[in-house]
């Protein structure tokens, strides 16, 4: 298990996102997909961003290193401060130093993250040389591949991506992300495309690498089981807004937002009783049809008039740093 970080960070956070709003322009139409999002990541901790498809979690992840093409993407409000510098104001040259160098990404599908026409060795050495001088790239590539648990590193360097299995490809992608010793690793659904036994291997690898290298990890996922397994803190998103955040233990054992409660209730479990689960009625609103007020109000049993008028601001609950955006947070007898 990862060591527990202090609940209250004493140092300045590695990444501080405040009021981030991201939208896309198409012609004269503007669609906002991430609304007023705030969260922090401290050095060495794993923070999870959880939500269903279309909730804006991947857009958030890509915005951290400005990987979305602008236009169509734009950010009308908010700041992203990474190690004391404002990412949204950076020049291209500045962005180039943090992309891959300090913020590295691992995406869902390793087969599309690797270039099919080049050997693994070439692609890995290219990543190393992009940010680091005076290293023996070949030697470093071998070291990285053994770090991610590929035993026959030399042979692997000579392979093309299609010669490797999905699990091995994802290990190569992780090795590539680690090539420049990033401070923050953004893992966007890194195991969704993999089988469970391979997923377990990759999760263990990410955990041990994090302990060894001391980097922070932002884990983007829809799987709450995976969050319980790897993350320290958790942010739950719904329809572009952050609805609840806090330590994983607090949020998963005493969820305060009805959506988080609902999500926990609809995930089939391996243990416990087999009672009938009731799904969350209705569907996630598409970004263009976001209702006024709290986006979850139309599907929420507790919603009142205030919920339909204005988005509630974050308020603290009993847990340390546990915040919820809801007018009617769920009470827990603890």
């Amino acid at each position: 298990m990862p060591t527990r970080p202090n609940a209250k960070p004493t140092r300045a956070p590695l990444l501080d996102v405040k009021g981030l709003t991201v939208g896309f322009r198409s012609g004269r139409e503007e669609t906002i997909v991430v609304h007023d999002l705030s969260f922090q990541i401290c050095e060495g901790e794993t923070v999870a961003l959880v939500g269903e498809s279309g909730c804006g979690k991947s857009v958030t992840a890509l915005t951290l290193a400005r990987l979305l093409p602008e236009p169509p993407a734009f950010h009308p409000a908010g700041v992203v401060v990474f190690r004391g510098r404002e990412v949204l104001q950076m020049s291209r040259a500045e962005l180039r130093t943090i992309r891959g160098g300090q913020i590295a990404y691992v995406f869902q599908d390793p087969a599309t993250a690797l270039n099919p026409v080049f050997r693994i060795g070439f692609q890995l050495e290219e990543a190393i040389c992009a940010h680091r001088r005076r290293v023996n790239a070949r030697k470093e590539a071998v070291r990285l591949l053994s770090l991610v648990g590929l035993s026959d590193a030399e042979a692997c360097l000579r392979c093309y991506p299609h010669e490797l299995s999905g699990g091995m490809q994802q290990r190569v992608v992780i090795a590539m992300a680690l090539a420049c010793q990033p401070k923050l690793l953004v893992a966007d659904e890194p195991t969704t495309a993999l089988d469970v036994t391979i997923q377990a291997q990759i999760l263990d690898l990410l955990k041990s690498l994090q302990a060894e290298l001391g980097m922070a990890v932002l884990m983007i996922t829809h799987n709450l089981g995976l969050v319980a397994d790897v993350a320290h803190r958790l942010n739950v998103m719904y329809a572009g807004s952050l609805v609840e955040s806090g330590l994983v233990e607090d949020v998963l054992t005493s969820p305060a937002h009805p959506y988080t409660r609902g999500l926990l209730d609809v995930v089939p479990r391996l243990g416990g009783t087999l009672e009938r689960m009731e799904g969350i009625e209705g569907v996630v609103p598409s970004p263009g049809n976001r209702p006024a007020g709290c986006p979850f109000a139309p599907r929420c049993k507790h919603a009142g008039d205030a919920c339909r008028r204005q988005m509630p601001s974050p308020q603290s609950t009993s847990g340390v740093g546990h915040q919820v955006c809801c007018y009617h947070p769920l009470e827990h007898a603890t």
Partner: protein, 331 residues
């Protein structure tokens, strides 16, 4: 395999099923190898395993989408290989499929109502519905059954959400009143809050319309929620079979145990934070199917493998009653 005498006569019996694909000129890939099981009337049976284990191929072989190389399939007491053309048509009507990707399995140019009625035309059961109005009302009735209204009849698949499309897929399969539904990963393309809606729908319909279901999936928690009985497949073989509550409480085969332990689970993850329980992480990956593994197919990854497992292929052993496992060290 299981003692059929204690239950109602099986609706579907699969015995020693084998499916082969030719990989190239010299080699054959044995995708399904000696699979036997049965499904009782109104029973929901889960077929679970990792990608490439042969679970989808097994489902496809039952409906005849891939040729059967070995073994027999018996439906309602009649071996399907020996049926007349008319009987085969009836078999194809009585066994229907729901696929994983509802966008891929619906014709993008066919409105939902027509997509459902097409099944009726194919199976010539529309003849009882002489007028256009009676056919429309049958389509509306089916759509209402799956929780959609008759206003969906003129809509095209691209106008629907993933969950709605899957409901249409189910309505289409049920249009001809099947007795067995083969659902191949019906919820894995859907978001979690929608998954449960579809699972509940399938469960309820199976009771109301009394059809049996072969539920193919990779998500163990979903299978536990859905199925009366569960079969675990590895490398084309069924390695364990038991009623779901027994299988998930006391898994016997080392592969099943590793699989269960590998699934990220909220309760398990929270327990692990207090230092309880540990995960079995299997070494290595699923071996290639082109080079047969001698002995037990799982031995290269098995944490408990012994000398015997390297050479001798285990047969089915009874763990207890109708709980079977294919391992030398059970029972």
């Amino acid at each position: 395999m299981s003692d059929a005498l204690t239950r109602e006569p099986a609706l579907l019996e699969v015995s020693d099923l084998g499916v082969e694909f030719s990989a190239d000129r010299h080699r054959v890939l044995r995708a399904v190898d000696g699979v036997s099981f049965d499904i009782g009337p109104r029973e929901i049976v889960g077929l679970v395993g990792e990608s490439g284990c042969g679970k989808t191929t097994t489902g496809n072989a039952i409906v005849g989408l891939v040729p059967v190389a070995q073994g027999s399939i018996t439906f309602d007491g009649k071996p399907i290989a020996l049926q007349s053309a008319a009987q085969q048509r009836q078999f194809r009507r009585e066994v229907q499929m729901v696929f994983q990707d509802p966008m891929g399995s619906l014709n993008p140019r066919l409105p939902v109502g027509d997509a459902i009625l097409e099944t009726l035309y194919v199976h010539r059961v529309h003849l009882g519905l002489a007028t256009r109005r009676s056919r429309q009302s049958r389509a509306a009735e089916l759509l209402e059954r799956v929780g959609l209204g008759s206003d969906f009849i003129p809509r095209y698949p691209h106008e629907l959400s993933g969950g709605q499309r899957q409901r249409v897929g189910i309505a289409r399969a049920l249009a001809v009143r099947p007795r067995l539904l083969i659902a191949d990963e019906p919820v894995s393309a859907l978001d979690v809050s929608i998954q449960v809606q579809i699972l509940n729908l399938l469960k309820d319909l199976s009771k109301e319309l009394s059809f049996a279901c072969l539920f193919v999936a990779h998500d163990l928690a979903v299978v536990r929620y859905m199925c009366d009985r569960t079969l675990v497949m590895y490398l084309g073989e069924v390695v364990e079979e038991a009623p779901s509550d027994i299988l998930f409480r006391t898994p016997s085969h080392p592969y099943t145990r590793a699989l269960l332990s590998a699934v990220p689970d909220v309760d398990k993850g929270l327990a692990a934070r207090h230092g309880e329980g540990s995960r079995i992480v299997l070494r290595g990956e699923v071996p290639s199917r082109l080079e047969p593994v001698p002995g037990c197919p799982f031995h290269p990854r098995c944490p408990e493998a012994t000398e015997r497992c390297h050479t001798e292929r285990p047969g089915y052993a009874t763990v207890k009653d109708d709980h079977l496992a294919r391992c030398h060290f059970t029972g």
